[in-house]
Symmetry: C2
Subunit: 371 residues, 2 copies
């Protein structure tokens, strides 16, 4: 396994706008890390939506009649659409496109510039000649959500108990739950998350409205549609969306060329027919470090890990191609739940790229040689 | 005035992922329009947040005690932060950076790829060697919002009447109000908005939670801070945010090098001291066509236009540099409220770039020559 040395001190990309916090950080980092990255050369970039349907609403706003400055409170709106931003670098035609989906109470921002201003996976994969697609989940961020129920409660046409709970993570929960350290304010000695930028990280944490979505989350079908539009893609999911790549495979296995599941609970109630479909696609499950080391959430993380160990074994037993990548077994120590933002995020990316090379792209070449 | 010919048929950037609707559109457009754009060469790109403060909440979720899977419903969260994505092209050091802020029930998506797959202003300004910064307003999209009040109402600790109304625009309102045509479903004969992609446009329309913000919208200070971090920027606001550039100037006039106000109501209650501050910065106000031609909203649009004509005159009378650019007077006919997405969006961009050149950058050169 070739592990290029991309240590903690290396910052191949220095964000030109620096907050005072970041300036403080830079001032204590070795000067060797200040090299400016090469220019980024793109064939194309842009954004678009996948999915979406038109629904009637009787509560365009929560303002009562008489206070409607546009005249009416009813009409048709679009819901369930998924925003996707993409960039296509030179040389990408040799590789499978990558879709990176964020977790709960987060947005596509997860994969962009890290809280301490280092390169995110979006740009790193681009620089490895991969076309990169970053969605916001349905009901989050630029994908929007259906506000009808909130407005109906305000108007009194529905009881408050009908409101779906909106979910936000506090600073005090995020720190230990994301395994930045054993308790709030205290890091692990080998912690990889850039905790000097914890305040910046916390700005990424936004309300999660997924509780208003149906049991079959529209994001799953949108991911399957996206993979089809791209004529094949590797899907990455994280945390809340960790198993969404597999959900997309279960909807349409033709175009998902690889499913990468980062730190989520794997379902244990899949029926044999579902497992059989999942054997058609290479699957990688990734977990970071310190799963048993946060007292408040140790049982939860160990159960989560065990559920995916079982899932990987079940797929293998059915003849599938599934890999469990517990990062400490791959010489990456101290990784948090937000491993795409950790100090060694590019080394973890290299491990994933190597898996894609070995299990998705080489397989493709082999198939071409055989047929 | 040099107006380069960028007609309706020209699509310098063809999005590689085409929906069936888009394929249909392409099939009826002249083949001359299918030229692929030049590569885009970037010095840097990324995203970060501006502003934000930590507040205590007693309703992290709307789930009652006993259903809290992370143990507690209280804690500190970050609110009022503003997400900003940026790209810096080669040659940008000669030019002032541009910040493009979106309007109501919309997000930064407004300035990206148009609904019918043409180049947005974000990429066009990049290709004119401008560093481009695209925020999401505070309480919208990737900037998140404070969900406390919604959860408190669900938990019964607040009455439903406390809920701020969330605002969404229906398809039936957006069409005439954005002046896509005189009534829903009918375009103006010279309409510039790409109505064949109206369904795609409607996916950009998302719930607007600005009603929960204080009267002094945190986005205003965040814009002023952003301009300062960039050591000078031209700020563009649209519709709901149309006057936000001037609000940023009123907070700190040092770093806003130009304020561009697109299609909004201009305040008529500014005091002489405020007008005096606004004379320090070049101001451009832009309006599209058909202001009097939508029966349901003609009075509203004409009043809006008149308020800005008065504002421009007031600033001029006080010795300031203010320009009213009513596009029909600049030979651009048929423009909608969403003029950054209209078929002639790049011609409108050229007019704005020419204004920036004449009123912001040449002024800077002149000042350098004098001093």
């Amino acid at each position: 396994m070739k592990l290029k040395q991309r240590g903690k001190g290396r910052r191949p990309f220095v964000q030109p706008i620096l907050s005072f916090v970041q300036l403080l950080i830079l001032s204590v980092l070795p000067a060797a890390g200040t090299a400016v990255a090469d220019r980024l050369i793109l064939k194309a970039q842009g954004s678009f939506f996948v999915g979406g349907r038109t629904v009637f609403t009787d509560a365009l706003t929560g303002a009562p009649a008489g206070f409607l400055d546009l005249g009416t409170n009813t009409g048709n709106i679009t819901v369930d659409q998924m925003y996707v931003r993409y960039q296509i670098p030179e040389g990408s035609e040799k590789h499978v496109p990558i879709v990176m989906l964020h977790g709960g109470s987060l947005s596509g921002k997860s994969y962009e510039t890290t809280p301490d201003g280092r390169m995110g996976w979006d740009e790193y994969f681009l620089r490895q000649h991969r076309a990169v697609y970053i969605p916001d989940q349905v009901s989050r961020a630029r994908s929007g959500f259906d506000a009808t129920i909130y407005n109906e409660v305000r108007l009194g046409t529905r009881p408050p108990g009908d409101l779906p709970p909106i979910r936000t993570a506090s600073r005090e929960i995020a720190w230990p739950f994301f395994r930045f350290g054993p308790i709030f304010g205290k890091p692990f000695s080998n912690e990889q998350f850039p905790l000097q930028a914890f305040d910046e990280f916390d700005k990424q944490v936004i309300p999660d409205l997924n509780a208003e979505l149906p049991e079959v989350n529209p994001t799953w079908a949108n991911l399957a549609t996206l993979a089809q539009r791209l004529d094949g893609a590797v899907l990455i999911g994280h945390s809340e969306s960790g198993f969404f790549p597999e959900r997309a495979v279960l909807i349409n296995s033709m175009y998902v060329k690889g499913a990468i599941t980062i730190e989520t609970r794997c379902p244990t109630n899949l029926v044999p027919e579902q497992i059989s479909i999942l054997t058609r696609v290479p699957i990688l499950v990734v977990f970071g470090d310190h799963l048993a080391d946060v007292p408040a959430y140790a049982t939860r993380w160990m159960d989560t890990f065990a559920s995916c160990q079982q899932f990987v074994q079940t797929v293998k037993n059915a003849g599938g191609n599934a890999t469990m990548m517990h990062l400490p077994d791959y010489r990456q120590l101290g990784n948090s739940h937000m491993l795409m933002q950790d100090n060694n995020n590019l080394q973890v990316a290299d491990l994933i790229l190597e898996w894609i090379n070995d299990h998705v792209e080489k397989q493709k070449e082999n198939r071409k040689l055989i047929h």
